[in-house]
């Protein structure tokens, strides 16, 4: 009993202290709940509106996962094309590198202007966000086939450029890279979906935050933020677990 408590303390003392500081800050300054709600108020709001929050959280999660998946598919397909045609990869690489340093939030308003206000725009934003990292990771994965394996393939009469080589060797070789891309991107996709919802006013946790704030329901707004943070951590944990579980199968 005491040892489990101690374990929790060594692992989570940071978060516990953060919570305590929050509570302390709110009660000592006697702050108006419109400015900063207390932890209890936030948790209560979460519990009282559980259905509502669950629905909105599900919506955001689905949009984020959908965008992530679309970006992943697109990234893999274009990477495969680039792999088979070196000229194309030469043309795309500088762009991919340049676009990697794009501050994505600066482009959310532009995508909104082009695609309009709605959930589909949130989907497009997360797709665009996910595309380039997936492309870069997948392409370098395809190109990572070890020399011994290439030699072996050539020795049985399989060229190292064609479809068969891609299907049986290059594609599976890239799987760990793709898992890494997913792990890194998953929490970001969720947060960017949130930003987009917030800016567009599309349904989801981002919009809950926005509207609750303009209705001066700060406990609700903070509850949405807390929920989003927990979801993001969960996304990260899920994909890390996935990554860990399958990566070992790629070590000979």
């Amino acid at each position: 009993m005491i040892s489990t408590l101690k374990g929790i303390w060594t692992r989570y003392w940071g978060i516990l202290i953060l919570l305590a500081a929050w509570q302390f800050f709110v009660s000592i300054n006697n702050i108006n709940s419109i400015v900063a709600p207390s932890p209890q108020a936030v948790v209560l709001s979460l519990i009282n509106n559980a259905d509502y929050f669950a629905g909105e959280a599900l919506r955001t999660t689905l949009t984020a996962s959908g965008g992530l998946l679309l970006g992943l598919l697109l990234g893999i397909v274009i990477a495969a094309l680039a792999w088979s045609t070196p000229t194309l990869s030469g043309l795309l690489m500088p762009m991919a590198l340049l676009l990697r340093s794009i501050p994505i939030v600066a482009f959310v308003p532009i995508i909104v202007r082009i695609a309009g206000y709605g959930t589909h725009t949130v989907l497009i934003v997360t797709t665009v966000l996910s595309f380039f990292p997936c492309y870069v990771f997948a392409l370098s994965g395809f190109q990572e086939v070890a020399q011994v394996r290439k030699d072996f393939c050539r020795s049985v009469g399989c060229k190292t450029v064609g479809w068969r080589f891609f299907r049986y060797v290059a594609m599976p070789t890239a799987v760990p890279n793709i898992l890494t891309a997913l792990r890194v991107l998953a929490p970001t996709a969720l947060l960017v979906a949130l930003v987009a919802e917030f800016l567009i006013g599309a349904d989801g946790l981002g919009y809950v935050m926005l509207r609750a704030r303009s209705d001066l329901e700060m406990d609700k707004s903070w509850a949405a933020a807390l929920l989003a943070s927990v979801l993001s951590v969960a996304f990260f944990a899920l994909f890390s677990w996935f990554d860990k579980k399958y990566r070992s199968n790629w070590q000979a």
Partner: protein, 249 residues
């Protein structure tokens, strides 16, 4: 030879993108949302808009730089403190992961309460940078060869001295990687922070031009933000190459 080939690839790649953009803009493939590149350019070099853009970019750059410095200092210090006093490490890890997961837009309102509208962009930028640097530094510490640890232990070196002489130099390449990542994150954080009622900056410009259908201004601001973050990234990459060569890594 290969440098020339790389440069050529870049030139061809970028010009293809620009030509494609121009055509797409002229034909209005994406409606009014994507104006021709030449139009954006013509708009941006008008004296009045140039002045506005540069002033905003300057403010965002200042915000991002302060945020970058503060965030990387805090990130490095926290990662180091976990090395000096081991029991801290696990709790710091979870705390940082969680802090990173809190959406910046959720923190915006909190920042306004605590640091004020003026300093919110700096704070969000610092937060965004903090995590990138923290994670990279931790990763660097994990890569310290066991032999090195054993040596310091065998000599009974004090924790902080071992940190300074052995662990930190070993973690440096990884730390610099983190800084490189962090520099574009800083721009992103600053722009986002400016959305919450900051008086001026690229973020303000971007949101107001979105709402007022000033499409050329919107594109100019977004491009300047990109160029800024790309330039900072390459500057750091250059510095990294120099430094690593000096250190013989």
């Amino acid at each position: 030879m290969t440098v020339a080939a790389d440069l050529l690839k870049w030139l061809v790649g970028i010009s293809t993108l620009m030509v494609f953009w121009e055509i797409a803009g002229r034909q209005a493939w994406l409606g009014g949302g994507l104006p021709p590149l030449s139009g954006v350019f013509a708009y941006a070099i008008e004296p009045r808009s140039t002045e506005l853009l540069l002033r905003s970019a300057g403010i965002t750059a200042t915000n991002a730089s302060y945020g970058f410095v503060i965030g990387s200092l805090i990130g490095t210090l926290i990662a180091c403190s976990g090395q000096i006093w081991r029991p801290l490490k696990q709790g710091l890890d979870t705390l940082s992961t969680f802090v990173n997961a809190i959406p910046l837009i959720a923190l915006g309102p909190l920042m306004i309460v605590t640091v004020g509208e003026q300093f919110t962009p700096m704070a969000t930028a610092a937060l965004a940078v903090f995590f990138a640097v923290f994670v990279a530094t931790l990763g660097g510490f994990e890569r310290v060869p066991n032999v090195h640890r054993d040596v310091t232990r065998a000599y009974g070196t004090a924790h902080w001295r071992a940190l300074l002489l052995v662990q930190f130099p070993n973690a440096l390449p990884s730390l610099i990687d983190g800084l490189k990542l962090g520099v574009s994150t800083a721009v992103l954080g600053a722009i986002l922070g400016e959305w919450f009622g900051a008086p001026a900056g690229l973020g303000v410009l971007i949101v107001s031009s979105m709402q007022n259908f000033q499409i050329n201004l919107l594109w100019s601001a977004a491009i300047i933000g990109t160029v800024m973050s790309a330039a900072a990234y390459f500057l750091l990459a250059l510095l990294q190459a120099r430094l690593l060569r000096r250190l013989g890594l």
